[in-house]
C-alpha cells in the first residue's frame, strides 16, 4: 500500500514520499540488547524491582492499547477496564477448568476480542463524550454481571488456582516473563499494525475524516478493528495481572483507575506515537515509586500534569521531543520531501 502511494505522488514530480526510517543497525543492536537484558532481569535484579517492572509492563500494555484507540482512532474510551477485568476473569475461569494459567493468556485475549465485537455495535451508535461514558457503563455492567457469578467468587473474589504447585520464585519468574512477552508482542504488534494498510487508513481519518471517507476509507470498520484489537490487548493485560496478583476481585480488576492510568500515561507521553505511552509509563512509575509514602498524591500530581499537558502541550512529552530533534525510535509515518530536499513535512 505504502509503495503505491509513494508511486502515485512521485508521478507529479514535485515531491517524493518515503517511509520514515532511521539507521537500522543502531536500533536493531539497541533492541536486541534491551530484549536480552529485560528477559534476564528477574535473575539479575532484586525481586522487588522485578515486580515493579512487571507492573510497569502491564501499564505499558494498557497505555499502548489506549493510545491506539484514542491517539490513532479518535475514540476516548474510559471503559477499557471492562476488558482488563474480563481478561482477568477469563484466565480465572480457564484455570478453574484446569488449564495452566500461563497458557490461558492468549485465550483470555481472544475471548475479549470476541466479546468486544458485539459491543461495538452498541457503542458506535454514540459519538464523542457520549461514547466515552457509554464505554464506562459497559465496564460497570461487566463488573456487576461478573459479581453475580458465584463460581468466579462473586463480589468477594477468589484465588487463582494452578499457581500453588510452583515455588514462589518460579511463580515470580514465570509471571515476569509472561508479562514481558505480552508487552513485547503488544508494542511490536502495534508498531507493525500502524505501518500496515490499517495504519494508513487511521492516519487519513485522523487528518480529515470526511476526506478519508470520500477517498474510500471504511472509517467505521477501521475503528471497529481497532476497538477489538484494543480489547484483546487489555484482555491480555488483565490475564497477566491476574497471574501476578492472583487474588481476583471485581472491584480491583474492573477498577476505573486502570482507565485513568492508561489515559494519563498516554497523554503525558504523547498521543499518536508508539514511544509516548512507554515514556509516560516510565514517568508514572518514577513518580509513583517516589511518592509511594504519600497516599494518593502521585495520582493527583499525575492527573494535574496530564491535564496541563492536554491543554498546553497536546502532543505530549515525546511528541515535543520528536518535533524538536526530528527523532523517532519507532517511526510509523511517511516523510514528504520537496524535490529540492529542503523541506520535510512529517505526514504521520
Amino acid at each position: 500500500m505504502s509503495q503505491s502511494i509513494e508511486g502515485a505522488l512521485d508521478r507529479h514530480g514535485l515531491i517524493t514520499v518515503r517511509r520514515s526510517t532511521h539507521s537500522p543497525i543502531y536500533t536493531l543492536v539497541g533492541a536486541v540488547i534491551l530484549v536480552v537484558l529485560l528477559s534476564a532481569a528477574p535473575w539479575m535484579v532484586p525481586a522487588q524491582v522485578a515486580s515493579t517492572l512487571m507492573n510497569f509492563f502491564i501499564l505499558v500494555i494498557m497505555a499502548t492499547m489506549w493510545n491506539l484507540l484514542a491517539g490513532y482512532a479518535g475514540m476516548v474510551s474510559i471503559g477499557q477496564q471492562a476488558f482488563v477485568g474480563l481478561g482477568a476473569y477469563a484466565t480465572l475461569y480457564l484455570a478453574l477448568k484446569g488449564m495452566n494459567p500461563f497458557v490461558t493468556v492468549p485465550f483470555a485475549a481472544l475471548s475479549c476480542a470476541v466479546l468486544a465485537y458485539p459491543v461495538t455495535y452498541l457503542l458506535f451508535r454514540l459519538r464523542g463524550g457520549y461514547f466515552s461514558i457509554a464505554t464506562w457503563v459497559v465496564a460497570d455492567t461487566a463488573m456487576l454481571i461478573i459479581g453475580t457469578i458465584a463460581v468466579l467468587g462473586g463480589g468477594t473474589g477468589r484465588l487463582m488456582p494452578g499457581l500453588q504447585n510452583l515455588s514462589p520464585s518460579e511463580t515470580a519468574h514465570y509471571s515476569y516473563l509472561a508479562t514481558w512477552i505480552v508487552a513485547l508482542v503488544v508494542v511490536v504488534g502495534t508498531y507493525y499494525l500502524l505501518r500496515s494498510r490499517l495504519g494508513l487508513v487511521l492516519a487519513s481519518i485522523r487528518d480529515n475524516e470526511v476526506a478519508a471517507r470520500s477517498a474510500g476509507a471504511n472509517v467505521r470498520s477501521a475503528r471497529r478493528i481497532v476497538f477489538i484489537i484494543a480489547a484483546a490487548g487489555c484482555g491480555a493485560a488483565g490475564a497477566v495481572l491476574a497471574i501476578s496478583q492472583p487474588f481476583i476481585q471485581p472491584t480491583n480488576e474492573f477498577n476505573l483507575q486502570w482507565a485513568a492510568e492508561m489515559l494519563f500515561v498516554s497523554m503525558i507521553g504523547g498521543l499518536g506515537t508508539i514511544e509516548g505511552p512507554i515514556v509516560g509509563s516510565i514517568i508514572f512509575f518514577v513518580l509513583q515509586q517516589t511518592l509511594q509514602q504519600e497516599g494518593a498524591w502521585y495520582l493527583i500530581i499525575f492527573g494535574t500534569f496530564a491535564t496541563v499537558i492536554a491543554l498546553w502541550q497536546p502532543q505530549g512529552l515525546w511528541g515535543a521531543f520528536r518535533d524538536r530533534f526530528h527523532t523517532e525510535l519507532l517511526p510509523v509515518g511517511h516523510w514528504v520531501d520537496r524535490t529540492d530536499g529542503s523541506v520535510k513535512v512529517p505526514k504521520n
Binding site: 484514542a70 479518535g74 476516548v76 474510559i78 452498541l122 458506535f124 451508535r125 454514540l126 459519538r127 464523542g128 463524550g129 457520549y130 461514547f131 466515552s132 461514558i133 457509554a134 464506562w136 457503563v137 459497559v138 460497570d140 455492567t141 456487576l144 454481571i145 459479581g147 453475580t148 463480589g155 476505573l256 485513568a260 489515559l263 494519563f264 497523554m267 497516599g295 494518593a296 498524591w297 495520582l299 493527583i300 492527573g303 494535574t304 496530564a306 491535564t307 492536554a310 491543554l311 497536546p314
Partner: protein
C-alpha cells in the same frame, strides 16, 4: 400493591437522577461538552455543605443557600478559563481535561477527608414519611427532592424560553456562529450556561448527601446514572431527562426488588436496551448519535 410501591420508589429516585442530570444535559446541549467531572463536583458540593456550613451557623438543610451560588460562580470562572481553553483546542481535549479533573478531585477529597462516609445532617426529616397504606411509604425527603427536580426543570424551561439571556443560550446551542453575528458573546453565554449547570449540580450533590452516605469516589457512579437518564430520556430534551430519570429509577427499583445486587445492573441493562432499540432516546433528537 408491592409493585405499586416499587414504581413509586422508582419515581422518587428518578426525580433525584433528573436533578443530577439536568446540568449534564445543559452542558452538552449548549457547550457540546460532556463534563466527566460532573459527579465529582456534586460530591464536592456535598462536602462543602458538611464542612463549611457549621462555620456559618446555619442548619445543613439550608446549606444550599450558600453552596449553590458559590458553585454558580465556580462554574462561570471554570468555564471562562479551563473549559473554554480546552474547547478552543477540540472536543477530544475537553474529555481528557474533565476526566483529569475528575480523578484529581476524587483523590484530593480522599487526601483531605479520608474514605470515610459522610452525610448532610438534616435531623428528623430523614426518617419522616407518609404511609397511605401499610406497604407504600413515601419519604418526605425523596418527595422534596422530586419536587425540587421538577421545579428546577420548570424554572430552567421558563428561563430558556422567556428571557433574553435564555434565548441567547438557545441561540448559541442552535448555531454558535449565527449567535455571534447577532451580537452574542458566546464565551459569556457558555459561562452562564456552565454557571447554571454547576448550580444544579451543587443542589443535586447536597440532596444526595441528605439521602445517603457519600465518600470521595461517589461521583463516578452518579455521573453514570445522570448520563443514563439523559440518554434514556433523549439527548437534548429537558423534560426527556425527567422521564429518563424516572425510567432509570423504576428499572433500578425493579432490579433491587429481586436482589439488591441487581439494582444498578437493571438500570444499565435498560440503558443498553434503549441504546440498541431506540438510540435517540424516548424524546431525543439524533444529534449525539454517530
Amino acid at each position: 400493591m408491592i409493585w405499586l410501591n416499587v414504581i413509586i420508589q422508582g419515581i422518587l429516585l428518578g426525580g433525584f437522577y433528573a436533578l443530577f442530570a439536568c446540568g449534564l444535559s445543559l452542558m452538552f446541549g449548549v457547550l457540546k461538552v460532556i463534563n466527566l467531572a460532573h459527579g465529582d463536583m456534586a460530591v464536592v458540593a456535598a462536602y462543602v455543605a458538611v464542612f463549611l456550613t457549621p462555620h456559618l451557623h446555619i442548619p445543613e438543610l439550608w446549606s444550599f443557600l450558600v453552596v449553590v451560588p458559590i458553585f454558580g460562580v465556580i462554574g462561570y470562572i471554570g468555564q471562562r478559563t479551563l473549559i473554554q481553553k480546552s474547547i478552543d483546542r477540540d472536543p477530544f481535549t475537553t474529555l481528557l481535561v474533565t476526566f483529569g479533573l475528575s480523578v484529581v478531585i476524587e483523590n484530593l477529597l480522599l487526601e483531605a477527608y479520608t474514605a470515610n462516609g459522610q452525610t448532610v445532617t438534616i435531623g428528623t426529616l430523614i426518617t419522616k414519611s407518609w404511609h397511605p397504606t401499610s406497604i407504600i411509604y413515601i419519604s418526605y425527603l425523596s418527595l422534596m427532592v422530586l419536587a425540587v427536580a421538577v421545579g428546577v426543570l420548570a424554572l430552567l424551561q421558563l428561563f430558556l424560553s422567556r428571557t433574553g439571556t435564555g434565548r441567547l443560550i438557545r441561540a448559541v446551542a442552535d448555531d454558535r456562529e449565527a449567535a455571534q453575528l447577532s451580537g452574542a458573546n458566546y464565551r459569556h453565554i457558555f459561562g452562564i450556561a456552565a454557571a447554571i449547570a454547576c448550580a444544579t449540580v451543587a443542589l443535586a450533590g447536597i440532596a444526595y448527601g441528605m439521602m445517603t452516605q457519600f465518600e470521595p469516589t461517589s461521583g463516578g457512579v452518579n455521573l453514570l446514572f445522570a448520563f443514563e437518564a439523559v440518554v434514556i430520556g433523549g439527548i437534548g430534551s429537558l423534560w426527556g431527562t425527567l422521564v429518563g430519570g424516572i425510567a432509570l429509577g423504576v428499572a433500578q427499583q425493579f432490579g433491587a426488588h429481586f436482589n439488591p445486587q441487581y439494582q444498578v445492573l437493571a438500570g444499565n441493562v435498560l440503558f443498553l436496551l434503549v441504546l440498541a432499540v431506540r438510540p435517540q432516546g424516548l424524546f431525543g433528537k439524533r444529534t449525539a448519535l454517530a
